[in-house]
Symmetry: D3
Subunit: 149 residues, 6 copies
């Protein structure tokens, strides 16, 4: 299930330089989100270029590159977490797409969101279902086949 | 992976009476949490007995009995969601145990929590790691073998 | 005050089937919101039809059909809760309308929101006041008389 | 219902000095909470005496002294709001007591909390029910009769 | 550093009438936000004129007029707090402008926001960086020189 | 004011290896919190040793080592943010101490917390004031002189 886990002690190499983490993070972000991340870099270039680096290096180069949990589950966990935050609509849109990219079915995304009604309440779940509908519709339009469901 | 999914249209039978939902919910709660739920019923008996029923009927009889997503992923999603809520320490303790009961490894629980640092911040994730440590230690003491990890 | 309370032990009949809960919930939703709920069902039809059922069955058929608290107070409590969540603008718009439908005056809605500044801060309350203004204006335009105030 | 409303334009007198607001707030706090507020003043005396004044002046002298909504509803709205905040257990304990003091029945408090499960999720509501049970038990012990229920 | 602190015991004069607090608050709001506050008064005039008064009197006349902390730090603290609330985009826009008005540099605003990624997560910080970019761009367009950076 | 800023382009060296970031982070954590961080490492050693590394490397080695904002302001911003999160009592305790270590006076800490009542509500601010009182008392007992106030 966790096919991207790696043997070892659970630590990534600590000899990585920042540029190595950056490269790894960019590759992982592209794999997960299906985007290059250029638009985030461009959007932050004027005000906070380092923040884009942290997203790549720490978010994708460190955390999302860790062994020990498969990416499909990681992304469904992220969807669940974002529903519970309540305010992260744009991130939710990105990561619902990422969950599909990583092998989750549309139904699995929907089930994850619906379940969060128990923990975050119905309004947060309902808002997230509407975001999912938007993501699914955009994929239909773009001709992206639903991963499994 | 989703061995508990059922064929059909995604709808549970709508002919269920409340008592049938209650029975299904109690069985599912026991399967997931490893507890009978009697302690919740007892705790709520004086003030809100119906609320215990809703937890069984809606929470476990409806939502957690749905096909379409395997229980291991459902519980890791719940752990992720509870970390992001920030205030649900007791629920987190229960559901970290439930995740282990449903086939998640300790490492998978830890990875799920650590990843939420990206979305809910480090303090929420750190608090949750301490809850996980407590759950793991209680299981060591009780002689419960770690599921997989 | 609690004219919709019913004699009995505080439990709704447990012999209700899902379809009976659904019917009761649809009727109660219509009474409270002044809408049929068809637009929610239509919006969720593609992605999560069961979620619409849960809103009817559990939300309105179970919770909002309970005895023990009058609807006017129930809806003002909901308005208060939604202000404190902070992120539920669309729900707030619906339920400010519902509060008016259930006998709360405009002034009572405003007082409820203002009071939440103490608990959720000024920005959440201010946002909610602007939502209330929008709801009141839409009713003026539609010729709906203010309930009491 | 709103027996404490006052005729007029909805404005409290603007000629109040701080000391007048303080006196009004102290009286209103005592009426609502059944406490003198001395313990809050004492607790804050070393670090933030002005904050105690703001609680009296603004919280109780301004907001909770406003006409336009009866105190029973005000307090049930506060209970609802505090459940949705999720983190305010101590305040919830105080204000569940205040709701009872202001004419809400125990059942009304319980209904208000249970309803918030729809908006803030089950864990927040469950935590609040346990706080309510604690408040009710303390009153039993102290021989305080339940207001109405 | 705290040039606006005042000698004394940390208490504002308690002889202030509401109108004096209102006048002080309006002046302080204008100093901090660079606006008159008329637009808030106008927006609330129909539904909650008192709430505009509370913003002036309590928010700016009491809190933001206190000695003991310089305004630049006060506003950066507010920016940090609003990032962590997650839902307060409009307030964030106003107060990023206020921080610049009170002597914070653009870089200081950005650093404050970025740091909050540790506590509130990356999505909240990223959203806030985009708000900051918008505020900076509007100032460029209006020809407002960056305070220091 | 920003005496720890460094000349340059706002970027830390990207040639840092993980171990260099770790060392820088440990030193900065010690400087800020007055603790070695060993207790965090020990607490996480069994369950999530990497998470301790991320706190050092990313939290203190990257973010808190950045130029562009003085540490006193950084820590007061953190206190403000933690008050608004609402659930982070233990972190708040640590960082109120850190704020004092970095040159903030007790009064400045108190002012920062009180101001957050405007944004996060009174209960969150009141809880935080009690945490501050506890931190101040522990310092009195330990004989730590108040930084400035």
């Amino acid at each position: 299930m966790a096919d991207e886990t790696r043997p070892g002690d659970g630590f990534l190499s600590r000899d990585d330089t920042g540029d190595e983490r950056l490269a790894r993070g960019k590759a992982q972000l592209a794999r997960i989100t299906g985007r290059s991340g250029e638009e985030v870099m461009a959007a932050l270039a004027d005000v906070a270029p380092d923040f884009a680096r942290y997203i790549f290096e720490f978010g994708y180069g460190d955390i999302y590159s860790r062994p020990g949990l498969d990416l499909r589950t990681r992304l469904l966990a992220t969807v669940a977490g974002l529903v519970c935050l309540g305010h992260a609509q744009r991130e939710l849109e990105v990561h619902i797409g990422s969950a599909l990219n990583c092998g989750a079915s549309r139904q699995e995304v929907i089930e994850t969101i619906m379940q969060m009604a128990l923990y975050a309440g119905f309004p947060a779940a309902l808002d997230a279902l509407f975001v999912a509908r938007k993501v699914f519709a955009a994929r239909e339009e773009a001709g992206t086949p639903p991963a499994q469901g």
